[in-house]
Amino acid sequence: MAATTTKNQSNLKQIDFLVLAVLQNGPLHGYGIVQRLEEMTEGAVALRPGDVYRVLYRMQRANLLAPSGEAETPTGRRANYAITSAGERVLSSQAEILAGVAATVLANEGQEHVG
């Protein structure tokens, strides 16, 4: 893997990962991202507007996502954001790592319960 990708991965924050995961199913506008995040994390992650756009801004500059047309919403036309191919690569490699980590953690917990 190229050095830059490794760096991107190591710098990837959890919130970036979550946003990428939300966008995996298709482009979304700001409020859609907020809602989907809350659904996915069962309310554990509730972002405020400033947080959302700071994250979007950062990820856009890191080329992990990009604007992608507009959506019609009850409150008006809203800009959509879509995951880029770089974003998808980062998402899947990060997911693999995290899956491994999660498996280890769960296994350890299981042992503890057994022991």
Partner: protein
Amino acid sequence: MSAKVRTADGWMLRCALLAFPRRFRRSLATDLVALYEDFDANGRQRSRLSMNWDLFRNGLAARLDDTRRSIGGGAPDSPPASEGPRGLGSLLGDFVFGLRILRKSPVFTLVAVGSLAIGIGANTAVFTVLDATILRVLPVQNPEELVVLHMAGARDDWPDISQSGWMLTNDQGHNEGSSFSYPMYERLRAADTPFRDVTAFARLYRINVRARGGAELAAGQVVAGNYYSFLGLRPYRGRLLTESDDQPGAVPVAVLSYAYWQTRFGGLDEAVGSEIFVNGTSFAVAGVSPPGFGGALQLGTVPAVTLPLAHQAPVMRDEELLGRGDYWWLHTMGRLRDGATLDQAQSAAALIFAQSLEADLDVADSKMYITALPGARGMTEARSQVVEPLTTVAVVVVAVLLIACVNLANLLVARASSRAREIALRLSLGASRWRVTRQLLSESLLLAFLGAALGVVFAIGLRDLLLPVLDLQGAELGLELNWRAVAFTGLAASLTGLFFGIVPALRATGVDLTPALKDEPLRQGARRFGLARALLVVQVALSLGLLIVAGLFAGSFAALEGEATGFDGDHVLTMSVDPRSSGYEGQDLINYYDEALRRLHRVPGVVAAGVASHVPASGSTTRTSMRVEGYEPAEDERVNTYLNVVDDGFFTSFDIVARQGRVFDATDGPDSPLVVVVNRQLVDTYLPGANPLGRHIGFGRGENAIEFEIVGVVDDIKYQNLSDDPLAAVHVLYDQIPGGIGAQTFTLRAAGRPEDLVAEARAALRELDSDVSMRRIDTHADVVRDNVVVARTFAQLSIGLSAVALLLSCIGLYGILSYSVAHRTREIGVRMALGARSSDVIGLVMREMRTVVVGGAVGLLVAYFAVRGLESQLYGLNPTEPRVMAGAAFLLLAVAALAAFMPARRAAALDPVEALRSE
């Protein structure tokens, strides 16, 4: 942007959005605003405050993300990489980045901010006090028309009067005071003079005010009925005193000061019309004087309660003073008619003064004279006492500010050269010169701001330290921090920061990139340190100057407090009584003192008990003329002496021992030979070279003539002021000088703390006769405190400030040397590789001390001429005292050498191979 945002919250939102990087605002701001609307539409919007906080917080965070991004992993910090025209937002970004940079070098930041804070704080505090004490004009109508009268004359021409109030020595060496008798005031007011009107007022020393169920001591004054109308003041509540209140038999009324009304009466309207008791006499509160007006008395005396002159007797120990032409106690203030001059006023007042001397005191053709002075600031004697020391301190703090600024400059210059590589790197990576310069500038400004903020905190502390010393009550004077001073000093610091931020910045950004990147300091280094060296010279010179000033004040203070006083009053309690006002006279009076002393001796904890008409260093004296056996005075000469009526216990309580002969003892009494103890000054002046013991001193003439034999000589005891030249003094026994005894002060020497004696000693006297009231109870330390407090405080202050200056200079020196060593690491490595030994390297670095020596020489030279201005403030010390000069220079050199040695040792310990490889 939606219509809703543009209208209602438009500008606020736009401001909050400025926190975000410019690039964000260009591309995402509209979407962000839309998201707020979505939140709103879904009922999730919270308060506007939380929205703005959300924006601000995330905006700054986004900026930080930007800086991190542009750094990439492991690269040094660099500022936000935004380009194009700058707005407020990117400036904020510079500051955020600057903060991060400053946090990365905490020592540098601490030193820079700390030295600025000290400079700014000290200046603000001192100028605040200076403004309030020396410059402030009375808040009354047309204060420029006001005139205060002084009278003055040679000691020998002084008439036989009782007097209270300040007495100073004027330029002609004459005594000068500002108190007059009531009859003189009446004459002045009645006469046709250049004065439109004249008023009179006097301080009441510590009155007991009982009100609202509690009693407490306060400052007060008695004033003529026209006082308030004369000054053109309007009541804040109720009414002020009028002429009709100042008539015999008038209903007794009082006026409260605004501050006292606030603190004691809670600012309640019911206070007006209520009854208060002043020294046991009932007064009705007529009203409250306007806020900000603290009377026209001496500096630091702010009367809480003002009473009419007509009622002075009951509150002043029943002494009826209005009829007495021989009791001078009233300050007299006039208001000039249009076009009238001070000189005209002075001549007119002089005429009335001469009439009064003749009519009241039977003194014709007196050489006493009147001076008329501007009265816009009220009475000025106390103020005049602090003008010189305060001015000196002002000069000192300005020097400290200069040093702080030079230090900052030094640090910035040294830092800029150490950052040359970083700057070159940024330039080579495409940052514009302006971009880099701006970053350095914002760092400097940030330092100045932080320094100013901390300085204000420091100023408040220092002001609160100064106020009690000057006997000022901040609340009553409304002594708020002088924001002009804050602004001025803050500006000075900012300009310093800007200038010395800009010069190195321009130089650094102008560097030829290649050698800077290679870090090739062999040639560049020396030139760049030229500016730093020049600054160091200035700094060392200033520090040495301050050290000398501090040394002089310390020496002067030591001289003042040390050997010169001739007594030891540390454990002495003083209690003043006047049994005469309870009917004692003649032999009864003597018996009273006999018995009182017997009882006081028995009070537990009393080591020695004595009595004196005047306590040392109290400023209270009696002066009289005498004859000295064996001394022939010249034709017009009056042989004057202080006369102190004492007992044998007086000497033991103050631990005064005879240098020749003996002091009084139990064998001396009413029936034994009449004896005196004199001081050394009397012997030196009138009996030089002779044996004084056995000679006689005479007082009085004709039938009243009385002769005493000198049995002992003691050291000169300071009676008036600690800094006064000694005058001849004679001590006589109270039971050997009938009629010479009156109001006396008991002096009790305690085994432990003198304060602990108060209750029992007071009880012992009350038991003897409860009608005899205690006029004043104080530890002698408190009595002296009033005398030396100014000298001591200014000594401490200048010592403290000089220590700070010295510390700052050392930091500057250390900084310069460390940076120079760091810079020359490669050179040192080459030298060591070629065989230089550690000692050679140390010598090489220590050679930087040349700069210090040059600075020291400049400082000495300037100080030698500048300190002459201090002459009048120093006691027992020449301003160019070589010991002080040499000591200060030595101290500075020693400390500087230490500061230079540490980097030198580090350089010597370098491994040559490492050094060659450095960076």
